[in-house]
């Protein structure tokens, strides 16, 4: 019997190559990697038969072999190619090309003492203890093929460590660039953010592409918020129109910690983000905002899971989407209130605006409640622009295109307004306005 190389073999072969290279991984990490690749070999990529993947078919991903990137790209993009994505803030900036740290393009600045902002590859050497305590320890990497694959190749990504009581005023910008020279590649940044007691920072994870290529980004970020810590986390996905993006963010919150998330998904042919938050102690709170604006044949999937495992925690979610062309959006928001998690306050809203006849939305806001003294609500809505509102603007002298663009912009503006990083908001604001205008202009032509 002849052996036909399947895409799966590419990953297994990639793992063997990683093993051979023997990049001095500590024994504990080696053990995790081994069991993770075994897990991946066993389950492969998820299928639509799994409830969590019911609306997102990743067969297109599974059909292509994306060789894992094991070493730093020899010739990355020039600094000028990244100019459009840079912020005019003096904060630290780490740049990763195809998931590997690029010292040349990064400007880590000099963070305040007690704060570490570096690559995971380096941290494995310099901050071994902290990495060992947290890396791949939060969330279940065996959950699906993507998380298993990420754990199997865990070697590089961003590492942010905030000592107790430290603060970083400027946003920490983590820029992940897909730069694909020829064949499709698999880049798997693995990020770890540890905010110790009473510390505070703002982190922007930013996924971009130079060029318009096919590749797969499979990113996993773990965020550990200690007692009273405040972490503001933004995740902006602007992959290429032919790129695939799968991401998982695992958040663990200690007593009285605060976590805010702004997840903006604009690019990619297929993009999926799982955001899982667990409250491990009382008094913690999180606010999750999401925005997705898609068109053509794009597919975007947002899954959130908030686990109210302890009493007296608060969660609030607002996810909004604008769909054009034959795009499809999926939202699955799951809130679990465990027995004894009394005084839970959980609210969730998902709203979708359909701009075209052939767009489709599948939304599933889910509540699982096992405690009685709780306040939980969720709401979901799908609709189009109100004709009355369009008429009102037109009667005030606005053209059809301008009126519709303005109303669509109005729909997303409340989510945008919640982005506290000024340069990021301004950039997204301009980007969205232009995109909506273009889409409408195209329609009226």
């Amino acid at each position: 019997m002849s052996m036909v190389a399947t895409p799966k073999d590419t990953y297994l072969a990639g793992f063997a190559a990683l093993e051979r290279a023997g990049t001095a991984a500590p024994a504990w990490l080696h053990r995790i990697r081994r069991s993770a690749i075994d897990r991946f070999a066993e389950i492969g990529f998820p299928t639509v038969r799994l409830e969590d993947w019911k609306y997102t078919n990743v067969a297109a991903i599974a059909a292509i072999a994306f060789p894992p990137v094991l070493a730093e790209a020899p010739a990355g993009p020039g600094a000028e190619a990244l100019e459009p994505f840079a912020f005019a803030t003096p904060g630290p900036r780490l740049v990763f090309v195809n998931g590997r740290y690029s010292a040349k393009l990064s400007s880590p600045a000099s963070p305040p003492s007690g704060v570490r902002v570096t690559s995971l590859a380096e941290a494995l050497v310099t901050d071994a203890a902290a990495v060992e305590r947290h890396l791949a320890r939060h969330g279940d990497w065996a959950r699906n093929g993507f998380t298993a694959l990420s754990a199997a190749f865990a070697q590089d990504g961003a590492f942010v460590h905030l000592a107790p009581g430290t603060r970083v005023e400027e946003p920490i910008h983590l820029l992940f660039v897909a730069a694909v020279p020829a064949a499709p590649v698999l880049s798997q940044p693995r990020n770890l953010v540890v905010a110790e007691r009473e510390s505070r920072a703002t982190i922007v994870e930013h996924y971009v592409a130079v060029g318009d290529d096919t590749y797969l980004t499979n990113a996993v970020t773990e965020v550990v918020a200690g007692e009273g810590a405040i972490v503001e986390h933004y995740r902006v996905q602007q992959e290429s129109r032919r790129g695939f993006h799968v991401g998982t963010t695992e958040v663990r919150q200690a007593r009285d910690s605060r976590f805010t998330s702004g997840s903006v998904s604009l690019g990619g042919r297929l993009a999926r983000h799982d955001l899982n938050v667990r409250f491990d102690a009382e008094g913690a709170s999180c606010e999750l905002d999401g925005l997705y604006v898609v068109g053509d044949r794009q597919h975007v999937d947002n899954h959130t899971l908030i686990d109210h495992a302890r009493p007296r925690c608060t969660s609030r979610q607002l996810y909004k989407g604008v769909l054009d062309g034959a795009s499809r959006a999926v939202f699955n928001g799951r809130v679990i209130v465990r027995p004894d998690a009394q005084r839970t306050d959980a609210h969730q809203t998902n709203k979708n605006l359909l701009l075209s006849e052939s767009a489709e939305v599948d939304t599933k806001p889910q509540l699982e409640i096992f405690a009685d003294d709780v306040k939980c609500t969720h709401g979901a809505a799908v609709g189009r622009l109100g004709e009355d509102a369009v008429f009102y603007l037109r009667s005030r002298g606005l053209g059809e295109t301008a009126a519709r663009t303005l109303l669509t912009y109005g729909f997303v503006s409340d989510v945008l307004a919640r982005i506290a990083v000024e340069p990021l908001r301004a950039r997204l604001d301009a980007l969205l306005m232009a995109r909506l205008r273009d889409a409408r202009a195209k329609e009226t032509r």
Binding site: Y55, E357, S358, D372, V374, C376
Partner: protein, 485 residues
């Protein structure tokens, strides 16, 4: 613990008042299921060839399903595996072949229904409700048949319909719930023994409420009834369904199928008050209520409305749905589900919008107490051609006690931009302030809780026919009331 908690205790401990057993000789087949049993059931009913073939196709498909995935596992309920070979698939009170007239019915049966508050003798009926009474596997009596026949309305047991109106049965049976639909519906298709059949001809408005009363009596038996209601163009019918079963320590399976067909401009209202035996306080015994109910608005402007009050059963697995195929058709779902002790309910609805300008409304109220767990699971699907479809969904849960659970799993799939879909859900408990306010006005805590719970369900109850609404409201009091601490 507050006094309210004690009130709950007292109310929860009330006995299930329909738990008696009627001692009546039964004609039953031995437990177990194979092709011969299917053939035997069909033969006992003297069914035409097409029925037997349909049953056998269903049975063979069911075997395949059993080998593949078996029972559906996605619902949020847990139970010990069901041994399908230990169930009695056919059990009928032994008596005459087909009781044509009421005075031929075994007086013991009449007594049973009398005790359940369902008098079958027409002289006693003041309310003008025609009843089809189903005891274990067969229909024992149908009232007001002649009066309805004058209008051309067919209302009889399924077995009679198969004999007297085979053309209608053949045309509509399985047209909404095909025999391949799901594990339990397929099982039902193979072994269903009786049920109600109703056909309302063109333009006729059925002058009285039609009703079926289901009673499981024999131990170890399963009840597999099938109801088919066809409302021809421009007609109207309102249908009620009630159910009880004796108390037993083992679980009994009830896997029914209800199919509704509403043609152009027709309207069907289907109301259920489900009060199967729910098991004791430790969760022993009770009915597994695994039911497939679905209606099809086949023509323009048709309307189907489901109203259900689910208070009984150890486990409820039920999703009365509407396929909105005709343009301008309307689907409604009003539900109150209550779980107490160790009851589990996974219930909700599906609204499938296919036609243009179709509208649907879903109001679901869930009340959980004791160790009860319930899930609202719903699907609103707008197909690409269903322009200007509208849906509004509201599901609220009330938690009484800190050991119960309430879950909401709505699926919303929209593939048409002109559609407008809204879903809202909330979960809360009765606050001390609300109770205090009522008690301050002189209400006992028992009455206060009862009043608040009834107020919570009012939106649903107002859609029930008058006498059902009264019964439902009383039932709610019996099954639970209270909670809150």
């Amino acid at each position: 613990m507050s006094t309210t908690a004690k009130t709950v205790e007292a109310l929860v401990n009330r006995e299930y008042e329909y738990g008696f057993v009627t001692d009546i000789e039964a004609d039953q087949v031995p437990p177990g299921l194979d092709e011969d049993v299917v053939r035997l059931i069909s033969a006992k009913k003297r069914e035409p060839e097409f029925m037997l073939e349909w049953r056998l196709r269903a049975f063979r498909h069911w075997l395949k399903m059993g080998l593949a995935a078996g029972e559906p596992k996605w619902a949020n309920v847990t139970y010990a595996p069901i041994d399908y070979q230990s169930i009695v698939y056919y059990s009928a009170p032994k008596q005459t072949a087909a009781p044509g007239r009421l005075d031929e019915v075994d007086p013991k049966l009449l007594e049973t229904f009398e005790k359940l508050g369902i008098p079958l003798s027409e002289q006693k009926r003041l309310t003008g409700v025609a009843v089809d009474a189903v005891f274990d596997s067969v229909s024992v009596a149908t009232t007001f048949k002649e009066k309805l026949a004058e209008l051309g309305i067919v209302f009889c047991s399924f077995s009679e319909a198969v004999q007297n109106h085979p053309d209608l049965v053949e045309k509509y049976l399985g047209s909404v719930v095909p025999y391949t639909d799901n594990f339990f519906a397929t099982l039902n298709s193979a072994v269903f023994s009786d049920g109600s059949f109703c056909y309302v001809p063109k333009g006729v408005r059925c002058p009285m409420e039609l009703s079926t009363y289901f009673r499981i009596n024999t131990a170890g038996s399963g009840q597999f009834e099938r109801t088919l209601i066809v409302a021809d163009e421009g007609s109207y019918v309102s249908y009620l369904e009630g159910c009880t079963a004796p108390r037993r320590d083992e679980n009994q399976l009830h896997a029914a199928v209800v199919e509704l067909v509403a043609l152009e401009g027709a309207q069907i209202r289907y109301s259920t008050v489900q009060n199967w035996y729910a098991g004791d306080r430790e969760g022993r015994g009770g009915i597994y209520n695994f039911v497939t109910k679905r209606g099809k608005c086949a023509g323009r402007g048709a309307k189907i409305s489901w109203t259900q009050v689910e208070t009984g059963s150890a486990i409820t697995w039920k999703y009365p749905s509407v396929i909105l195929q005709g343009d301008d058709s309307v689907g409604e779902f009003y539900s109150v589900a209550l779980v107490n002790n160790h009851q589990q309910a996974d219930t909700g609805t599906k609204m499938i919008h296919i036609g243009k300008n179709t509208r649907s409304t879903i109001i679901s109220k869930g009340i959980s107490a004791g160790h009860g767990n319930q899930t609202y699971r719903g699907l609103v699907k707008v197909r690409p051609r269903a322009s200007s479809a509208r849906n509004r969904t509201q599901c609220d849960s009330l938690l009484l006690g800190d050991r119960c659970g309430a879950h909401t799993v709505p699926y919303i799939e929209v593939a048409n931009a002109t559609a407008s879909v809204e879903h809202e859900a909330s979960t809360a408990k009765i606050s001390e302030e609300q109770l205090f306010y009522c008690k301050q006005r002189g209400l006992s805590s028992e009455n206060a809780v009862s009043m608040i719970v009834n107020g919570f369900c009012k939106e649903v109850f107002k859609n029930l026919p008058m006498e059902f609404a009264v019964e439902a409201s009383k039932l709610l009091g019996v099954s639970l009331e209270g909670g809150v601490g």
